[in-house]
């Protein structure tokens, strides 16, 4: 038993390096996708203190809109642009109908409002596009399909899916773009001001409403990217919504307001759960992936309640 826990997994890693590399790669890709979902959460939380539970369904909704439009004869790229437009309208609508009237409510109320939004989007999405899973229009969007295999010495193959590589590249681009947006543009600076202090930001003449609409829109774009990537891995369906819960332990690790935290946290969870499942999961019958991430986050939190990048909390009274 002790051997199985402490020695055997490492022996396996050594003996099958190709497989170990493959596991790491899968962990990396999963981590990137978790990080993307978490990024959507962080954007909104940072600017408005709203823990947006609807991020998961926004991923589905964005993917569904894209595919649904394409199915109805809209060319892929036009569908992409239209979907971006739809996410914009959604962001504006959410700001107008949900956020604005609920300003200054306790966080649990805002959280509930986003769960209400989730219900609405589920109903609306199924109403418009139907409940059946749809295939992502990977090729039409010019995204690569297929895979490349690398030989690791004479020990075996590591297979890299092109779409996964694309996902990683797009994630990096997205984060870079967001970083530039936050740091270099006027709106970005205003956004950071809002994140620091609502009242202060208001008093120097920043329009909160505008900022909120923008972050929701940004989160919508992140959701669209996530939807395309995840949709390409499996397909676009409402069952995907639950996968989005995986972003929550990521957020705990990285902190609710830290963009680098979301990325590092995503990767830790991605690597952690794949390695845990493949090398240790078998000991308890497998399937530990459904909760391992939460347990990792929980243990982590017990030792560092402020998250990876958070500052030490000094309680005051």
């Amino acid at each position: 038993m002790l051997y199985d826990i402490f020695i055997d997994p490492f022996v396996q890693m050594y003996q099958m390096p190709d497989f170990f590399l493959q596991v790491l790669w899968e962990g990396f890709v999963a981590g990137i996708l978790y990080a993307l979902i978490a990024l959507g959460f962080v954007l909104i939380f940072k600017a408005s203190g709203v823990f947006n539970f609807a991020q998961g369904i926004m991923v589905v909704f964005a993917g569904l809109t894209l595919v649904g439009l394409n199915e109805n004869g809209v060319p892929a790229y036009l569908a992409l642009i239209l979907t971006i437009g739809v996410m914009g309208v959604l962001a504006y609508g959410v700001e107008r109908v949900v956020m604005r009237p609920l300003v200054n409510q306790p966080e649990i109320i805002l959280l509930m409002a986003t769960i209400g939004l989730t219900y609405f989007l589920v109903g609306f999405g199924e109403f418009v596009f139907g409940g059946e899973p749809k295939q992502m229009i990977t090729e039409q969007l010019g995204l690569p399909t297929g895979s490349t295999a690398f030989e690791i010495g004479d020990r075996g193959l590591v297979i890299l899916q092109h779409i996964d590589i694309a996902a990683a590249v797009i994630a990096v681009l997205m984060v870079t773009a967001l970083a530039i947006f936050f740091n270099k543009t006027r709106i970005g600076r205003a956004l950071r001001a809002v994140a620091d202090d609502h009242q202060a930001a208001l008093s120097v003449g920043i329009s909160l409403n505008q900022i909120w609409a923008i972050v929701w829109f940004a989160a919508g774009l992140v959701a669209l990217a996530t939807g395309i990537m995840w949709g390409a891995r499996s397909d676009v369906s409402f069952a995907l919504e639950i996968v989005a819960f995986k972003a929550l332990p990521v957020l705990i690790l990285g902190g609710f307001t830290s963009i680098p935290g979301a990325i590092v946290g995503g990767l830790i969870i991605g690597f952690g759960e794949k390695i845990g499942e493949l090398y240790w999961g078998g000991l308890v019958g497998g399937g530990v992936e459904s909760w391992l991430a939460y347990i990792i986050a929980l243990i982590f939190l017990l030792f560092r309640p402020q998250g990876l990048f958070g500052e030490r909390i000094i309680e005051r009274i």
Partner: protein, 275 residues
């Protein structure tokens, strides 16, 4: 305010006539820092049973941190605290509370969702002991206990003259009344030492007078020892028996009000002479 002064001179002299004044609490060489930032440096002072002790100093002098150390919310890195003859270094806030230290807060820390009555009843928590299963039943012991403590609480309500707001959620009360309810809540604990953190901040003159009266009454009628932080010098001078002055986390003076007032270090600190 003059009226208080005449009243005020009495209790210390009373106490002095008896035996040696008993020490309630002594702080020895306490230092506290947060990640390299020193909040309190090597402070020692004591509080005698039955007195009103004031802690004053400019903003950021470490006054509230000092109170937090006394009731166990912060744990000092160095130094000891002697409470009723027992030396301690570190204790949990609820332990401090159960040993008879109560306090009020600089920014009112009432339980906003509860009524005035419940807030003050909450001060009785430590003295109520009926367990969960009696509570389930309610009828019988739990109810008797509740009523018994309700009587005590009603006395405090009468004392503080807040009968009319008994059933009002405290979140809806004006600031001055909230401060009063908070005092009531601390009193309900029947503490040996009552720590008051700026009990009169943000009050108008009339409210300050009321509050001063309550503090003196508490001290005299119940014999409660009081340590208070206050910015209003007039109030401090009138109320307190002894004053300790902090600046930048260090003690710069300690003694009777008149003496402290005359100290050059204190004058410098308040006028902002550079160090």
């Amino acid at each position: 305010m003059n009226a208080f002064v005449t009243e005020k001179t009495l209790p210390p002299s009373d106490a002095n006539e008896g035996t040696e004044r008993e020490l309630l609490l002594r702080v020895d060489n306490v230092s506290l820092s947060f990640g390299g930032v020193k909040a309190i440096t090597d402070i020692s002072f004591d509080i005698q049973k039955g007195e009103i002790r004031a802690i004053i100093g400019p903003n950021g002098a470490g006054k509230t941190s000092m109170l937090n150390v006394i009731n166990g919310f912060y744990h000092p890195q160095e130094g000891t605290i002697t409470w009723q003859g027992q030396v301690r270094r570190k204790m949990k806030p609820y332990e401090a509370a159960s040993q008879g230290i109560a306090r009020t807060f600089q920014n009112v820390a009432l339980f906003k969702g509860m009524t005035t009555l419940d807030n003050i009843m909450s001060g009785r928590s430590l003295r109520m002991h009926r367990n969960f299963f009696w509570q389930l039943l309610w009828r019988g012991p739990a109810e008797r206990e509740e009523i018994e403590h309700r009587r005590k609480v009603e006395d405090i309500i009468d004392f503080l003259e807040i009968q009319a707001i008994r059933k009002t959620p405290v979140g809806r009360l004006p600031y001055g009344l909230q401060k009063r309810v908070e005092l009531g809540r601390a009193l309900a604990m029947e503490p040996d030492l009552l720590l008051l953190d700026e009990p009169m901040a943000g009050m108008n003159l009339e409210e300050k007078e009321d509050m001063s009266r309550f503090i003196i009454d508490v001290n005299q009628e119940f014999g409660t020892t009081i340590a208070l932080i206050e910015h209003d010098m007039g109030v401090v001078m009138d109320l307190s028996d002894r004053v300790v002055v902090l600046d930048y986390g260090k003690k710069i003076a300690d003694g009777p009000p008149e003496e402290v007032q005359a100290s050059q270090a204190v004058i410098d600190a308040y006028l902002g002479v550079s160090h």
